[in-house]
């Protein structure tokens, strides 16, 4: 079980139109229970890699295998996206509903769950985040740290098999970072986290991956 592969990326190549390649024959094997930290300078393709894994961008060439199956089309990704809790760099991109409860309910609603069950999920996720009583708070009134926690909650409410986080600690104070670390640890999920904060990565990950600039 421990050697089961969650995501396998092989020979991935990607370039934005009219720009140099960002990913050059990139390879990654993510085994179950691994908590991977992804580091590297700005513009090296970290976020791009995450978007490719989520099927939000299309690679020029290469293979992406998720949960034991190769994923190519939008259709393939649609089926598994809710199983991969993705947390965007900017919580304002992720939280688009008027209230916290609406945002936490958005994923479960898409999965077709019933109202009562969704209500339970919302309560449970808020408890996990330590944000009890935040259901009807207006999203734009939240602090940056609260927004980030709710954004993670909006991924957790899907009950995903893994988490992917793009620079979750950016602009957070140390107290909120500590809370975030707690949430990650308690989730019990394998995750891949992009960060420039090496001490943070040391604390929360089991393996470090460095993407180097493509100098070719």
């Amino acid at each position: 079980m421990s050697s089961k592969v969650l995501i396998e990326v092989a020979d991935l190549n990607f370039a934005y139109p009219d720009r140099p390649k960002v990913l050059n024959n990139f390879n990654l094997t993510w085994r179950a229970e691994e908590r991977i930290g992804l580091a590297g300078p700005n513009g090296v393709g970290k976020s791009t890699l995450l978007f490719l894994i989520m099927g939000l961008l299309k690679a020029q060439s290469g293979v992406i295998e998720i949960f034991g199956k190769q994923r190519r089309e939008e259709k393939d990704f649609q089926a598994i996206r809710p199983q991969m809790g993705f947390v965007f760099q900017d919580a304002n991109d992720q939280l688009f509903c008027p209230t916290v409860a609406d945002d936490l309910a958005f994923g479960p609603l898409n999965l077709g769950l019933g109202h009562d069950e969704i209500h339970r999920i919302v309560e449970r996720v808020l408890a996990r985040l330590g944000l009890m009583g935040f259901e009807h708070r207006v999203t734009y009134d939240l602090s940056g740290g609260e927004k980030k926690l709710v954004a993670i909650g909006s991924a957790l409410s899907l009950n995903p098999r893994l988490l992917i986080l793009d620079e979750p600690t950016a602009n957070l104070d140390p107290v909120t970072v500590a809370r975030l670390e707690g949430v990650l640890a308690e989730s019990g999920l394998p995750y891949l986290v992009v960060s420039h904060d090496h001490e943070f990565l040391d604390r929360v990950t089991t393996r470090r991956l460095e993407i180097r600039p493509n100098l070719s």
């Binding site: 978007f51 989520m54 939000l56 649609q78 996206r81 809710p82 991969m84 993705f86 965007f88 900017d90 304002n92 991109d93 992720q94 939280l95 688009f96 509903c97 008027p98 209230t99 409860a101 609406d102 309910a105 958005f106 994923g107 609603l109 898409n110 999965l111 109202h115 969704i118 009807h136 708070r137 207006v138 999203t139 734009y140 909006s154 991924a155 899907l158």
Partner: protein
């Protein structure tokens, strides 16, 4: 329900949001058609009753009504003077004459406008916007329109913040608006940048929605039920509507 203007659990808070939309629509339409002062006064009293039933905070409600009445000031400056031909003159300021008909009409308009505003505040202020949007959707508003409404509500603030940040960034670099091409060009850049950023953000929001299983259908996290309390609401509304109608005919 802290998203609404007036949180609480009053009679109005517990009414089905769908019913609220219907009542406000009928009530506003009715108020707009009123021709007599007694009917208009009765309508305002009815709205006041709604406001009490919703336990609106008096201060916030007054602040909002003051804004409505600021617009009505214009009416008071114009209409009393514009009935010079058939009207009975009440007084005159030099060249201008004030007529009884004019004063009456201005008063009528003021009463009607306040009745509509207070009624809408009472019903809409006691439901969250999400509830109201979902209710509007159930009443036949298209999914797209409802989704656009909710997204607009959410991102209005984000875009505003972005605007304020950009504006500050201009200020700290010694930008001061003058009557010059440079000023217009800078403003054009600001507006352009806001649009580009909004476009980009829209793309990212869509991507984030896809990541949470969005496939083109917008679901609403709400369920409504028509209860006995709603029947009481209907009865109250019918009573008040009948009162307005009777007074308007007399």
């Amino acid at each position: 329900m802290t998203c609404d203007l007036h949180p609480g659990s009053s009679f109005l808070h517990q009414l089905d949001p769908r019913l609220k939309i219907v009542i406000v629509a009928i009530w506003s339409f009715l108020a707009a058609l009123i021709q007599t002062l007694p009917a208009a006064s009765f309508a305002l009293a009815g709205s006041l009753l709604f406001a009490l039933a919703g336990r609106l905070s008096p201060r916030e409600t007054l602040t909002r009504l003051v804004k409505v009445n600021a617009f009505l000031l214009v009416i008071w400056f114009l209409i009393p003077f514009s009935f010079s031909m058939p009207g009975r003159t009440v007084g005159s300021f030099g060249f201008f004459t004030v007529t009884a008909e004019g004063l009456q009409l201005a008063l009528l308009l003021t009463l009607k406008a306040n009745a509509v505003a207070l009624g809408a505040l009472a019903f809409f202020g006691t439901s969250s916007v999400t509830q109201l949007a979902a209710a509007a959707h159930r009443l036949g508003a298209s999914e797209k329109i409802t989704a656009i409404f909710l997204l607009m509500l959410r991102y209005f603030h984000v875009i505003r913040q972005e605007y304020v940040r950009l504006r500050l960034a201009m200020k700290v670099r010694a930008f001061r608006p003058t009557f010059s091409l440079h000023t217009y060009r800078s403003y054009a850049n600001l507006v352009g940048m806001l649009m580009v950023r909004s476009m980009d953000r829209a793309g990212r929001v869509h991507a984030a929605m896809l990541c949470r299983g969005y496939t083109g259908r917008f679901w609403f996290y709400d369920h409504f039920s028509f209860t006995r309390l709603d029947l009481a609401g209907v009865a109250l509304a019918i009573l008040l509507v009948a009162g307005v109608l009777v007074l308007n005919v007399i």
